[in-house]
């Protein structure tokens, strides 16, 4: 009896499966490949890969779009303009981004790497999904100054794109979601997880750290990892790190939340490839890692919403702003940070302009 009941349930399930199959035509155009790889020392991705898993054709389309000025009003600015591979996809030597008609923005271009592990994009976290990220630079009047609608029209009219969309999505229809998903697919494959530090963590060949670098890692874990947490070296939160308020007097996250407690807070950036992503901070005010550490050691300002981690009370009850760092510690921390440089990523032909 028991066996028969089990059999019945089992067959009921089979019937359901067959029934479902009868109602859905199977359409397997693009087979997922292992284009997205999670390094063994990384946590689970945040991006819902099941909803938009990179395929060969999808990534190829995303890459074509990434390097094409067609995304901008006059064809002059592609994503790569401010996101250059050699500098971990940042705008090298530009404090703030330099866009169309030689206009400049107010913020420093963030690297494009490991975005599957990111949440709340841009320095103020105003965009909550990777898929929605490209719309912001496209429509920003000092970046690409174009309407996404118009980009779609231009892609439809082009000789090049309908066949790429067909290869990626099964038909040559070009619409906003497909355009954005293709860009996401390409960006998702841009994983940086093969630095010397990673190899050291994973005990792989080439994974050696010098004494100074190891001492730097120890100091980093004690003094920096409260914010630059885990293997992505960010807690994905928004904090006021005590910068002197100057220039555009950017209020950071409060710009998108309108909440007073978010005033002057900015995204805690990842430190992967940090050696290459200069200049630093939301407005690119520091041109060297030494300047960054000097800021934390000596120049933290007590401004509204200063992060509590940068206000330590010492034994005598005195509040000390910033992080206590000796000259040796600074030097060692910088030595360690340079072990996060991933040359394989910075030169990977899969991400390079053709």
């Amino acid at each position: 009896m028991n066996m028969r009941m089990n059999l019945k349930r089992g067959l009921g399930g089979a019937g359901l499966v067959l029934g479902l199959m009868a109602c859905h035509s199977t359409d397997q155009e693009a087979q997922p490949e292992q284009l997205f790889q999670q390094p063994a020392n990384f946590p689970q991705p945040i991006y819902a890969l099941d909803q938009n898993r990179p395929t060969v054709a999808g990534v190829a389309l995303g890459k074509a779009l990434f390097y094409d000025g067609i995304l901008s009003r006059d064809g002059s600015i592609s994503c790569a303009e401010c996101h250059n591979q050699a500098y971990a996809f940042t705008h090298h030597q530009h404090d703030v981004s330099h866009g169309i008609d030689n206009q400049v923005g107010t913020r420093n271009a963030l690297p494009i790497q490991n975005l599957a592990w990111a949440s709340d994009f841009f320095w103020d976290g105003g965009v909550h999904s990777l898929d929605l990220v490209p719309i912001a630079p496209i429509e920003n009047p000092v970046e690409m100054d174009e309407k996404t609608t118009n980009v779609i029209s231009k892609l439809r009219a082009s000789a090049r794109y309908p066949s790429l969309f067909k290869a990626a999505f099964g038909s040559d229809e070009i619409n906003g979601p497909r355009f954005l998903q293709a860009l996401s697919q390409f960006m998702l494959t841009m994983v940086s997880g093969n630095s010397r530090y990673d190899k050291w963590v994973r005990k792989e060949p080439g994974g050696t750290l010098t004494d100074d670098e190891q001492a730097g890692l120890t100091a980093f874990r004690t003094k920096c990892s409260g914010c630059h947490t885990g293997e992505l070296f960010t807690d994905n939160r928004f904090r006021n790190n005590g910068l002197f308020i100057q220039g555009s007097k950017d209020e950071g996250r409060a710009h998108v939340t309108e909440l007073p407690e978010d005033r002057y807070t900015f995204k805690v950036p990842s430190l992967r490839n940090v050696e290459k992503t200069l200049p630093y901070m939301h407005d690119g005010r520091f041109y060297s890692l030494e300047a960054v550490l000097d800021h934390y050691a000596e120049n933290v300002q007590r401004t509204e919403n200063l992060d509590p981690l940068l206000m330590q009370t010492d034994k005598s009850g005195q509040v000390r702003l910033g992080i206590a760092l000796t000259a040796d510690e600074k030097r060692q921390i910088i030595a360690f940070l340079k072990t996060l440089t991933d040359d394989q990523f910075l030169r990977d032909p899969r991400f390079a302009v053709q």
């Binding site: 089979a14 105003g126 965009v127 779609i152």
Partner: protein
């Protein structure tokens, strides 16, 4: 005997499976449809873009150059107080004054019955505002401006209502333009609550009954009054607030426009 039973199980199971899987295609009760038509007005005048000067409650003259708003999350109310909630997915509409075709649409698959009112959201709910991009097509496609810029690219979210125009009360430095872009779905930031301008409106059919059946497709005519954007719990003065977007004051305007939609009449077709 045993094998015959087994065969029966297989057949029954297949049948049940197929039924479950194809449930949407099997009609059990009679369903019908309802057409909603939005007529945008300014007080007792029809709204005409750019050409007519109106006056708001504060006594300020203004013209309207753009008037767009999203409606979604429909619920039909029966005389006994029970209701029918329409499927959320395919029922997002953007009313645009400059696109007459957008001002009328049909809700389908409504169970037959007598309905005495309707309720809906002005805006796009938080769930859809955070949904995967593949679930945002048509008017919700943030990359396709069939709805031209009813979306904030720098602060992901839909603009629920957009009212733009000119007024002598607006600053000359702003070319006498005023603009109200009202949105904000109330969150998405590590559990923190941000501005929420989603507003539900409930519109009784003034004692009339819409009879929905396969053979009867009522059309409900609604009025959306621009004057209510300026006047409600707050008297909005263009001179003081000529440009309101994502900021605290916007909730006053959302509270005002909650009262902008009224029942006009219905036709049974």
């Amino acid at each position: 005997m045993r094998s015959r039973l087994l065969l029966l199980f297989i057949l029954v199971s297949l049948g049940v499976g197929a039924f479950l899987a194809c449930q949407n295609e099997v009609g059990t009760a009679e369903t019908g449809s309802l057409t909603l038509r939005f007529d945008n007005v300014v007080g007792n005048q029809d709204l005409a873009l750019g050409t007519v000067t109106y006056q708001n409650a504060a006594g300020e003259p203004f013209t309207v150059t753009k008037f767009n708003y999203f409606v979604s999350n429909f619920r039909l109310i029966k005389a006994d107080g029970t209701d029918y909630v329409l499927p959320q997915a395919n029922n997002y509409f953007l009313i645009q004054e400059d696109k007459p075709a957008s001002q009328s649409f049909t809700l389908t698959g409504i169970p037959g019955g007598m309905y005495t009112g309707i309720s809906f959201l002005i805006g796009v709910d938080s769930l859809r505002s955070l949904a995967d991009i593949s679930q945002r097509t048509g008017v919700l496609d943030p990359g396709l401006g069939t709805h031209e810029a009813m979306y904030w690219e720098w602060n992901s979210g839909y603009i629920f209502l957009k009212l733009e125009g000119t007024s002598a009360a607006a600053p000359a430095s702003q070319n006498n333009l005023f603009f109200y872009h009202i949105g904000g779905f109330g969150g998405g930031y590590n559990g923190k609550k941000t501005i929420n301008n989603l507003r539900t409106v409930t519109i009784p059919f003034n004692g009339n009954t819409a009879q929905i059946a396969a053979s009867n497709k009522p059309r409900i005519n609604l009025i959306a009054d621009v004057l209510n954007v300026f006047n409600g719990s707050t008297t909005l003065r263009i001179a003081q607030h000529s440009s309101v977007m994502f900021e605290d004051y916007s909730t006053n305007i959302a509270n005002n426009y909650t009262g902008m939609i009224r029942y006009k009449d219905m036709q049974n077709q």
